[in-house]
Symmetry: C3
Subunit: 349 residues, 3 copies
């Protein structure tokens, strides 16, 4: 019997199945530095131990999306090695600050299955949870992914599409954010005078800057996350495929958009929840990423006066600056749009 893992196909998943993923990973200050090198992130809490300590962290926490990508990466060999597309995210919540030195592992539960009408693929819904070395959950999220069937004729489990929340409620935010000394939060060092109360629903922000992506960059990033999806790495196979190119990991786009969003959202120091997200179109090396954001909502977090939550929709586009806010268009999207991401972010009040 072959010892090579071909990955699961749609018919290999069963409802309620719990999968402990391989390759726990100790994430260090080195991953944080590489993350800075890959995206140029400038949020002061994650950049400076001194700043983090001044506002209430024991030291700089790891970037929220770095934690996400490492947890996500663990799930790939078991969930999405034979995926056609990563369709969406819901109910993502950061549950505990993660600091350098933490060892992250991941577990997924199959919470939904729906075979496609052509019977050649099916959608797998999973809830994935990342744990630290103490066994405490640091992140949980649902995603659904279109997975090939090994054999179109294989019988499929009864369909079950889970009922997922459209958004995380404000009471569920802030678990991964310690009490913040908002008075000690230095606006000059943070790079912006605008706090939670300065943003209003409906406000749109063009993040202005653009970032061109190279093959070496997204490959280094995606390997750093130990994400093994073949489409990101194998040009020889890609040349025979649909795009002729390596696809860039969608999480790379998210982190680029997040880094670009510093220009306009510099004090959104913590991503507390992911309400939803969609990779609208693929990104390829040589493309330049721009982004803009819209404030969808502003919420108090029950019991907290130090920080408030902004619900922010961030749209990334390729090869088109976002001064004109490229957006949904007709039944779809402006052709430049590549990402439509809905998160809750925390800001000092």
């Amino acid at each position: 019997m072959s010892k090579t893992d071909p990955g699961r196909f749609f018919e290999d998943f069963t409802l309620g199945q719990v999968i402990r993923h391989a390759t726990p990973r100790t994430v260090t200050a080195a991953d944080a530095a590489l993350y800075t090198g890959l995206y140029g992130s400038r949020f002061a809490v994650q950049s400076s131990d001194a700043f983090a300590r001044a506002v209430g962290y024991p030291q700089s926490p790891l970037d929220d999306w770095l934690v996400f990508h490492v947890v996500f990466g663990k799930t790939v060999p078991d969930i999405s090695l034979n995926a056609v597309a990563n369709l969406g995210y819901a109910d993502g919540r950061f549950l505990k600050p993660v600091h350098p030195g933490a060892t992250l592992a991941a577990v997924s539960e199959v919470i939904g299955l729906k075979e496609s009408s052509n019977r050649r693929t099916g959608v797998v819904y999973v809830r994935s949870t990342g744990f630290d070395e103490a066994g405490e959950a640091v992140l949980t999220y649902c995603r659904w992914v279109l997975v090939n069937k090994r054999d179109p004729a294989a019988p499929a489990a009864a369909d079950l599409v889970p009922d997922l929340p459209k958004a995380v409620g404000p009471a569920a935010l802030g678990a991964a954010c310690p009490p913040i000394d908002a008075a000690a939060y230095d606006a000059a060092l943070a790079g912006s005078p605008y706090r939670w109360g300065d943003y209003a629903p409906g406000e749109r922000i063009d993040h202005a800057d653009g970032m061109t992506v190279e093959e070496a960059e997204h490959q280094i990033a995606t390997r750093l996350y130990q994400n093994t999806a073949r489409v990101h790495f194998d040009q020889h196979a890609a040349e025979r495929g649909r795009f002729g190119r390596r696809l860039i990991y969608g999480g790379h786009v998210i982190s680029l958009a997040r880094a670009l969003s510093f220009n306009g959202l510099a004090n959104a120091f913590h991503v507390a929840a992911v309400n939803g997200g969609r990779h609208v179109a693929p990104l390829f090396a040589g493309d330049t990423v721009y982004a803009w954001s819209e404030i969808l909502d502003r919420a108090e977090i029950p019991g907290r006066r130090d920080v408030g939550a902004l619900r922010v929709r961030t749209v990334a586009a390729k090869n088109q600056p976002c001064g004109a806010f490229p957006d949904r268009a007709g039944d779809g999207y402006d052709p430049a749009v590549i990402l439509d991401l809905d998160t809750w972010m925390l800001m000092p009040r």
Copy 2:
């Protein structure tokens, strides 16, 4: 009002203005490792904790140019986001050794302003100083940069061109170098038998090796320094610009030349001062960098018998090996030259 920062234009600067820059940055052994990966530096003091301890450091200090680039990066969003060109450096002095774990922040003072005769741009002179988390200065330098005006018709401040020293004096060197046990400095491990006394003014050294630069490399480096200048990252915009290409951060060239200079200057373990520097021509990805150096002066440092100072002029060229020492030519330079840098370096005596 837009929350996006467009950067300052020439008419936004005023003489004596003091700007506290955003994004303090904790620099760790990870940045040092990435720096090694980006440039291949081999100076033993920075490469080996054991070597550093043997000669008198508590551990390997961070590379001097890494410290410079991080401090420089902080200044970019406030000083040079709308710069046309980085014109020069003067009176740069390293003031304190910086070790992994230090958090660096930066402050700049506007020390000069001179509108261009066409009134569309102007030269801004700043003194920038980097501080560690204890508030102690680790580096100070002057630079001047050509900045666009937002509105050519805007009135400009009265011209003031500061009087900057042509070179740092020997008495100002060595503040960032602890007492060195020159007898414990192992020539075989350091890679060269030549010490301070073995170099003579007028001596020229071809550093022999060449290094080709890739887009991913300079982008990762420049983001690592949190330098946000758009010209380094946005190919979509660059295609509509003067060069059609992304420009490589001038500091990347400096670090490449410094790493190449190991071959001939292996014991120049510390850059103590930057007397001046000029980015003669732009570097683009795909170009190969070579370098040569000329010993301009040799000086004792008052009160020190452990180390001596060499004033070294390092010239970098692209796509032309430096065996023939490409140099100034007529009113300008040999077309291969991209950098002309004048520093004081310390060597064991």
Copy 3:
């Protein structure tokens, strides 16, 4: 006299010569993270401090090949700067686990010399040994390399071709592996249920995945190892050379093949010895690397019940998936093959 080091030519080596190499290097968790980013390695012992501790290490050791590359890199300026080709390896043994924070230095002894019949080159055989900051050997190996003569007419030393073992004996394995608690070795976290006893001589494993290599990646890796061989970095010179391209460091191919081998050999957590290795053909940027392995032998290690040794031959190919096991062909190799590597690996029993 020039202070630039031109590197040794064949006639500069003498039998029995001992060379202490320059540039000791403190290797940290940052190098481990970069290594993960460059190759995507997923072996749990090296990835997770928690996993490593559970099975008996004090923390994650550095990847064996990272240790090899750093030691190898030190030897390049003295041994192979003027090399035409790296011909082979033998009797490589890992002697002590290396953890982040260790400072590595290297010493080589010339153990053989053989001038080529055309008198323009000669083969230099060296035994290189890496030491940590305590002066304890962590790795030793022999390699032989074809080196140019400075002057074809120069007299050469009498030929001596050393007698090197075809393979390391099982009794010499395991020195760098602490006692392992095989019961605590978690198969789900490690990514495979297959242990030492599940593999049989003659078994072939296609490692399935492919990895395309970019110039920036191999350059960053090779500089990280402070390997200064010009052929890897200088495109300007390469354009005038045999291939017209930069050559990728052979060790980069080894590390890629090792990372790919996770898919099929996930529990081969430690490379204990290198019996031999040959870089069959060069790799260039843009090529995609695949690999397959064959189990050559299975051996108990005298005195140990916790781990067993597998002798594994790993073959890497470019631009050709390895489902058909491309191999030796006639007097040579299938044209896709680039690496033929023979190692002993340890697995839990």
